[in-house]
Symmetry: C2
Subunit: 236 residues, 2 copies
Amino acid sequence: MVEGSEKKRRSRDPERTRERLLQAGYREMYRSGFQSASIDSILAATNVTKGALYYHFESKEALGYAIVDEVVAKLPRDRWFLPLQRSEDKDPINALIGVVQAIPTRPRDIKGGCPLVNLAQEMSPLDEQFRKRLQTIFHAWQEAIAMVLRRGQSQGTVRSDLVPDEAATFLIAMVEGYEVLAKNSQDVKVWKLGIRNIVGWLNSLRAPRPSRRREQRISNMHVVRQHQRFRLGRKR
Amino acid sequence: MVEGSEKKRRSRDPERTRERLLQAGYREMYRSGFQSASIDSILAATNVTKGALYYHFESKEALGYAIVDEVVAKLPRDRWFLPLQRSEDKDPINALIGVVQAIPTRPRDIKGGCPLVNLAQEMSPLDEQFRKRLQTIFHAWQEAIAMVLRRGQSQGTVRSDLVPDEAATFLIAMVEGYEVLAKNSQDVKVWKLGIRNIVGWLNSLRAPRPSRRREQRISNMHVVRQHQRFRLGRKR
């Protein structure tokens, strides 16, 4: 049992204290990485005592793991899974394009980069607990995309010769790759160009429209137009 | 002027000492990142005195910048620019495929990830000198790929509707994105799957062969096969 004012503060709203520590810890980790994150900065930002922090999280690692599971994991959930779920009545490729186009491109997002990539890059070779937790997030993200592509295949709107799991990983690799380049350039334009090219690639995953196929039987000129549907780097 | 044995060691072969410091510093930065890199570890690994290190590099930052300019910059040069230059008589897409397939996939490469991405992720938001130096490397890499694609366009082997600079950035984003995923999974298989999908994408950049176009005028069945040349995630 803990005595005095500290006990009071905790029992007043321990869940809220825990949540404030998670949020301040997340911001500190986003700014400095896990290894350089300062517990003192987190305490200063939350006005929580060290004792209270260690009541909720037994170590800096335990705080870090909870931040991954409860804060970082929310990012692909809020930006990908939920919008994709809500768009079940939409064309799957349009739904994916909508999600890619909604990725935040504020200067502060470009400056800090993707929190998931930052942590994966820093901690994967160093700490197996971090690595596995982050991998779980990548897997869930991949599965959310693959599910949409499978739905498109069964509806006939997505190319049937595509392997949904691999195409989903390809999409994630592209998104994360462009985030790395945008963070290095510290330039929103790099990210916007990335989105445009990713959208072009997504358009190339559409199944050929039956009406178009019929037209092709009539005129071969449509073949060339059909090719141009893969819009990567199409000239403006 | 420095007296005694230290002077002797320097004057014996200062260039070699400098090179050893760069190599040991690179390994230490690859292992721990720049911020956590330990000068003492670098000195222990090289058996060089602190005075000799600061004779060559006036600060830890100066050592870091020299490592970027002289060691990290070599990686895309050796793995991309030079092989692409040497393959000037080859089909450009085949040359790019060859380079992608030659990216090292030893477990230690997967474990540590790409040194360029690691440093860009860590240092771009923190230090403008690091950021610009790393950006110069990304730009040179992009230009080397774009040049090959432009050559292919002028030869008629690469699709004419593609913007070489953007396609080059797309390729780099994919390579770096898959490296991030492979580093997180610590699994060579993820990287090998990445290479296969990147190769499939590269194949999709080929201009339609004139002979094929002729065939299409004869039989429309070829249209479908032509589409399947975009091999991302093609079923095995």
